[in-house]
């Protein structure tokens, strides 16, 4: 059994909060640069140029890419041969968020009571944490600060098995179209298919953690990702919704087995600041 002090998790999380918000991953930066070459709209090109310049300014000035530094979302894989010492995982992750958001001058965007008081918790906690027990003696932490504007444009729908591929594609494309300029396009679209009402939303969220340009391992779903992406970009919504070719940078699908009566589907939209980081301890 490997012993791991939870303080190490806190330190790692604190650094991840700052890094993810200041430096956009190479995958997304490359996708923005290549879309500048294919974009036809002059205003669309100008938007993409601003977004590319923005990344450089954020890195040079050490300030966040976007003022919405998000809800802190974590997927944590804990090896079964790891023994955490000195506290709980949840406390350790939240302590890391508290430290990272305060020391990094990141915006605190979380309110405690969602309906009535809506008082800011002051430190961007609590985080949303999903855990999986996996073989091995490592802890893998995946983090995404998730912006509110794009999250608000997301949806779950319980499709019928008879709706098939067409029903799924229609749901995703109409959802993304109705979101239009609101989620800060060019967007990344996470699609969950299968599972229960709750599980399908987690799949869609998990899809946003996959590096851009990495297709689904199953070729049928990889083809479907391409097909949906083409349809979304054919809408003409373009960067920031001003019109153009680049409405979405990528579509990622994650699936889960389904009940015989159901075909759950979820769309989780991310903005172009599709921030995600991974660390293995």
């Amino acid at each position: 059994m490997r012993e791991l002090a939870v303080a190490t998790i806190t330190e790692t999380v604190a650094a991840m909060c700052q890094d993810a918000n200041i430096y956009l991953g190479k995958d997304v930066a490359e996708a923005l640069k290549s879309s500048l070459e294919t974009e036809e709209s002059p205003t669309g090109k100008e938007v993409l140029k601003q977004l590319i310049d923005n990344l450089e300014i954020a890195a040079n000035e050490q300030i966040p890419i976007c003022q919405d530094t998000g809800f802190a979302v974590f997927f944590v894989e804990i090896g079964q041969e790891v023994h955490l010492q000195g506290g709980t995982l949840e406390e350790a992750v939240n302590a890391g968020v508290r430290k990272g958001y305060s020391e990094g001058y990141l915006r605190k965007s979380i309110v405690d009571d969602p309906l009535y008081e809506r008082k800011n918790t002051g430190d961007n906690t609590p985080a949303v944490i999903y855990t999986d027990l996996v073989p091995g003696d490592k802890v893998k932490i995946s983090f995404a600060p998730k912006g509110g504007g794009s999250e608000n444009m997301s949806a779950v729908k319980m499709l019928k098995p008879a709706d098939g591929e067409k029903g799924l594609v229609d749901f995703v494309v109409t959802q993304v179209k109705s979101a239009g300029p609101n989620p800060c396009p060019p967007i990344v679209v996470g699609v969950g298919i299968g599972g229960t009402f709750d599980r399908v939303a987690v799949s869609a969220k998990k899809a946003l953690f996959r590096p851009l340009g990495q297709p689904h391992p199953n070729s049928k779903y990889a083809d479907l990702e391409k097909k949906i992406l083409a349809k979304i970009n054919d809408l003409g919504v373009g960067p920031q919704g001003f019109g153009g070719r680049t409405f979405a940078l990528a579509v990622h699908i994650e699936t889960f087995p389904s009940h015989i009566a159901s075909m759950a589907a979820a769309v989780n939209i991310n903005c172009h600041a599709s921030r995600h980081l991974e660390r293995i301890i």
Binding site: S41, A58, I63, I65, C66, G149, L235, V237, F242, G243
Partner: protein, 192 residues
């Protein structure tokens, strides 16, 4: 790409010069307000009390910046989703506001109020918060400091880039832009 330079605050004549799709660079003084500040301003109007700022000719920027680091004017400062301010915007225009900057769809009531009171709705690039922060030369809180990032700030801006989405003539770039580049149509109404 053609860019028009405009100076804030704005007059009716300035507004009528601008059309949906125009790219502008704004210099001058603008004010920030988002959800909580709007709620407070409208509550004052309901009670027929004076506002902490004169809205006449002003541009309101929907933004909640990140905290400024020591030595910086302001933190990352891009636009937030404007639709959440739809309920308040016609009243703000009635009181003299000439333009607002945000991102995303406005509802029909806002579009009609822009025509009625001669106003424009501008979008800045959502997610370009670091770039936009460099266009802000001075920032001070003028009302509701207790709201933190949501307090009303007076900003001095220089060549702040934005695009006219809804003009005083009823035109909408979000509809026209997508129509110009669309290769297929999904018949859904945009979310209000």
């Amino acid at each position: 790409m053609e860019v028009k330079k405009i100076k804030a605050p704005l007059s009716d004549e300035d507004i009528l010069e601008l059309k949906a799709g125009d790219n502008v660079l704004i210099s001058g003084v603008i004010y920030t307000a988002r959800d909580a500040a709007h709620k407070k301003l409208i509550a004052l109007l309901d009670k027929k009390k004076a506002l902490p700022l004169d809205l006449k000719g002003q541009i309101i920027y929907y933004v909640g910046p990140t905290p400024a680091k020591p030595g910086q004017v302001i933190g990352s400062a891009g636009p937030t989703t404007s639709g959440r301010m739809d309920a308040y915007t016609p009243r703000m225009l009635e009181k003299g506001m000439k333009a607002c900057i945000g991102k995303g769809f406005r509802n029909q009531a806002v579009k009609e109020a822009l025509q009625k009171y001669k106003g424009i709705y501008l979008a800045a690039v959502g997610g370009a918060g670091a770039l936009l922060s460099k266009k802000i030369k001075k920032s001070e809180v003028v009302a509701y400091p207790e709201l933190g990032a949501e307090a009303i700030h007076r900003l001095e801006v220089e060549d702040f880039p934005a695009t006219v989405v809804n003009d005083a003539y009823g035109k909408d770039l979000y509809l026209e832009g997508a129509r110009a580049y669309a290769r297929q149509e999904y018949s859904v109404k945009p979310k209000a």
